[in-house]
């Protein structure tokens, strides 16, 4: 009898952690990255649900299906391209993603999130402010083809002539840029890994210097290399934006009802010296 009682108490004690392991949100993080942490802080700011974070780079392989079966999270937040890729494979739990530059989502999949690319209209507004009508842009259809289509639609609305040139290999970038010589008033640098590689980045700015046209890029770092204007996002705010979406999903909103969103907060920085040299007005200035 005594032995039976001890056995029962031991089993109860073993089952005691189970309620602790129960959580609402599985945060699937590609790797340990400070910018991801920054974005996740924004998520936690807006979403009070319980979360468990799994950093994929800490494991050789993640058996997400088993994890889903055993832990039953209500929502997966994928941070990074790899996390999105893994999370998308399961179809039972809705997935919200962020900080995924190459986010590709199968149609109909319960996946939504916040892009890492800004609304094209924001860029077009800058070009409009700068007074540049012919804007050259290089892109890889495999990477940023969809984005560029949306951009072309917006450009047509804005009256801006978007001269888009496809590049399928980084080696083509220089030659394609040369093909734009004399044809554009500004260059739009997309965060496209084919169009903008470490080897060809300077080609944009050499072209800018040679043609005396501004380059509008997607990050402040390029201002130092000769960029004129940089439009970037706030990682923390992206987290908050996604946290709001997560909370909505947890509150019962269907994922399908939540479209993928552009980052809502845009940070603009300009290189005054370049603008002055090119005799251009500061965007948004009087």
């Amino acid at each position: 009898m005594q032995l039976l009682r001890t056995l029962v108490v031991g089993i109860l004690l073993l089952l005691l952690p189970l309620p602790v392991l129960a959580y609402d949100v599985l945060v699937l993080q590609s790797l340990r990255e400070r910018s991801y942490d920054e974005a996740l802080r924004g998520v936690r700011r807006e979403c009070a649900a319980s979360m468990r974070t799994v950093v994929m780079s800490d494991y050789a392989e993640i058996d997400l299906t088993r994890l889903m079966r055993e832990e039953h999270p209500r929502l997966i937040i994928a941070v990074g391209d790899r996390a999105l890729e893994v999370a998308e494979r399961q179809r039972n739990v809705p997935v919200l993603y962020m900080m995924a530059l190459h986010a590709k989502v199968r149609p109909g999949a319960p996946v939504t999130g916040v892009w890492m690319m800004l609304d094209p209209q924001r860029y077009l507004s800058v070009f409009d402010s700068l007074g540049t009508r012919r804007v050259g842009v290089l892109y890889d259809p495999q990477r940023t083809g969809g984005y560029l289509k949306r951009a072309q639609v917006s450009a047509r609305r804005s009256g801006i002539d978007l001269l888009a040139r496809e590049v399928r290999s980084p080696k083509e970038t220089v030659a394609v840029l040369e093909s734009l010589r004399g044809k554009v008033d500004a260059l739009w640098m997309l965060p496209d890994l084919t169009a903008v590689s470490t080897e060809t980045t300077e080609a944009y700015f050499l072209f800018s210097q040679g043609e005396r046209i501004p380059v509008v890029s997607f990050a402040d770092a390029y201002l130092a290399m000769g960029g004129a204007v940089a439009l970037s996002f706030d990682r923390y705010d992206i987290g908050r934006q996604l946290g709001g979406m997560a909370q909505s999903v947890l509150d019962g909103t269907a994922v399908e009802e939540l479209p993928t969103q552009y980052p809502r907060r845009v940070l603009m920085k300009v290189n005054d010296g370049v603008l002055r040299r090119f005799k251009l007005a500061v965007p948004g200035g009087s």
């Binding site: 920054e38 530059l101 980084p170 890994l193 470490t198 300077e202 990050a219």
Partner: protein, 528 residues
């Protein structure tokens, strides 16, 4: 031939040695500096060429980065051709990462000999991040990736030409510098060593014995101080030389005087010897002339005494028988005694004459055969007094004080007597009015082991002038009174021959004290 003999002479020249050393050193230094300069210049030029080549290659690498990445051969060919236009570039190639040339340019105008090959890698730009990293906020990382390489071959013929010109110019400048420095240094050395030569000439003059020579060098440097020191030394030497000459002269003078004195003394001895020889001959002759009649007189005396002795008994019988009768004006009894006494006196005085003559003879011939080891001085004194008994005047009082415990001496009694006779006679003749007291004394000074005989008078004494010449032979203050001037001379000689000394000193209270000191044979005999 003159050259062969001149070279060693010149080689010993201080100025020449310094000049040769200095010019050789300058030549070596100039050569070393020229070599260093040429090597440095060549190295510098080569380094400059390499640097320029590297710069060219780097610029080409920078410019060809995008075309190389894009494998744009046309653009690369243009860039290579642009670089090949530089005169020092012989060959340009831009290669991909496998080393395969994407473009090549050969410049045939140069020569490949000694060419410099320069290879610079073409890298992707550093501090450029990928768009993804930029979006994630990663700081830029300097990770350059090699995407190809640029190969340049540089012509160094211009460097060789420059080297030849540089060597020629350096040699010319170095030689000119050496000549100029040598000429200037010769002039400087000439001025500097002029003082040295002056000093050497002065030293040589002084060294050759010309102590009056001086180094005429007026400066306050080391040479000037050396010249002053040498001049001071020469002056000191000259002074010593003069002092030496003076001393030599004085020495010669003194030696000359000494020789003259010695000569005088030798001459005096010669004269003395001659005189003594003459005196000896005279005395011998006199002894012979006196001894013969004296012997006859003594014989006659003996005959008279013998005859009288034979005649006296007869005459006594006559007297007794016939009474008083007279002989020679004297009664017989008185004449009997007087005749006997006079006959004895004839014999006695004749013997004394014989002894005196013998003494004179012995003295004259320097006879020393009469030396006795047991001579009693008092006996000699008494003998002398007996000789002088007949010479005594009634106005002269002779007092004697003889010590009877005198030790014997080694000597000749006759000669000692002779000395005493001379001294007593001198004392007796010292009284101007023929009156006075002569004191004769003997004593023994045990401390010195000497027997002293003193003859004192209270006469006129000896003047200072005469005192120095007392013992000169034939010098006498009584030549008109029959003095020979030999008494004291002979006396001193005799005393000296006996190992003693004769002293004449003024007597306290007036007069003269003659003192004969003779070495005693032994201690004084015990009193009896």
């Amino acid at each position: 031939m003159s050259l062969r003999f001149r070279i060693p002479h010149i080689a010993k020249n201080f100025r020449f040695r310094i000049y040769i050393t200095f010019t050789a050193t300058i030549a070596l230094l100039t050569a070393a500096f020229a070599a260093f300069y040429v090597i440095t210049e060549v190295n510098g030029f080569r380094a400059t060429m390499e640097r320029e080549g590297r710069l060219l290659a780097t610029v080409l690498a920078q410019n060809s980065r995008l075309p190389l990445f894009a494998e744009n051969r046309e653009a690369l060919a243009l860039l290579a051709a642009g670089t090949a236009r530089y005169p020092s570039v012989l060959y340009v190639s831009i290669n991909n990462t496998e080393g395969r040339p994407l473009t090549e340019v050969n410049n045939p105008k140069g020569t490949a000999e000694g060419a410099i090959d320069m290879v610079v890698e073409v890298t992707s730009p550093g501090l450029v991040s990928s768009p993804e990293a930029v979006l994630l906020g990663h700081p830029p990382v300097d990770q350059q990736r090699v995407i190809g390489q640029v190969h340049l071959r540089l012509d160094t013929s211009s460097a060789r030409e420059r080297l030849q010109k540089l060597v020629a110019a350096t040699l010319a400048i170095g030689t000119l510098f050496w000549i100029v420095v040598s000429l200037v240094s010769y002039q400087i050395l000439k001025r500097v060593t002029a003082s040295f030569n002056l000093l050497m000439r002065g030293i040589e003059d002084i060294g050759s014995g010309n102590l009056s020579a001086r180094v005429d060098l007026d400066s306050d440097d080391e040479l000037g101080r050396a010249a002053n020191a040498i001049n001071a030394m020469a002056a000191s030497l000259e002074l010593r030389e003069l002092e030496n000459l003076s001393l030599q002269e004085e020495l010669l003078k003194a030696m000359r005087l000494e020789v003259q004195e010695e000569k005088k003394r030798v001459m005096a001895r010669l004269i003395h010897t001659n005189k003594m020889t003459s005196l000896g001959l005279l005395l011998s002759s006199m002894a012979h002339e006196i001894n013969n009649p004296n012997a006859s007189i003594r014989f006659s005396g003996h005959i008279i005494a013998k005859i009288w002795n034979d005649a006296m008994p007869l005459l006594d019988g006559v007297w007794r028988e016939e009474g008083e009768f007279y002989l020679g004006g004297l009664p017989f009894q008185q004449a009997r005694g007087a005749l006997q006494e006079n006959a004895a006196k004839i014999v006695e005085n004749s013997e004394r004459i014989a002894r005196v003559v013998q003494g004179l003879r012995d003295y004259g011939v320097g006879d020393r055969s009469g030396l006795r080891p047991d001579l009693e001085v008092n006996a000699a004194v008494e003998a002398a007094l007996s000789v002088l008994a007949c010479q005594m005047h009634k106005d002269i009082w002779l007092k004697t004080s003889l010590n009877r415990e005198l030790p014997v001496i080694t000597g000749n009694q006759h000669q000692i007597e002779q000395v005493l006779i001379n001294l007593i006679l001198n004392a007796m003749q010292a009284f101007p009015d023929g009156r006075g007291v002569v004191l004769l004394s003997t004593r023994f000074e045990a401390a010195a082991g000497e027997v002293v005989i003193e003859v004192e008078d209270d006469g006129v004494g000896i003047s200072a002038e005469n005192r120095e010449r007392l013992f000169e032979p034939f010098y006498s203050t009584k030549l008109e009174q029959g003095g020979s001037g030999l008494g004291l001379y002979i006396s001193q000689y005799i005393v000296a021959e006996h190992g003693g000394r004769l002293q004449l000193t003024p007597r306290p209270g007036g007069g003269t004290r003659a003192r004969v000191v003779l070495p005693a044979q032994g201690p004084a005999p015990a009193a009896t």
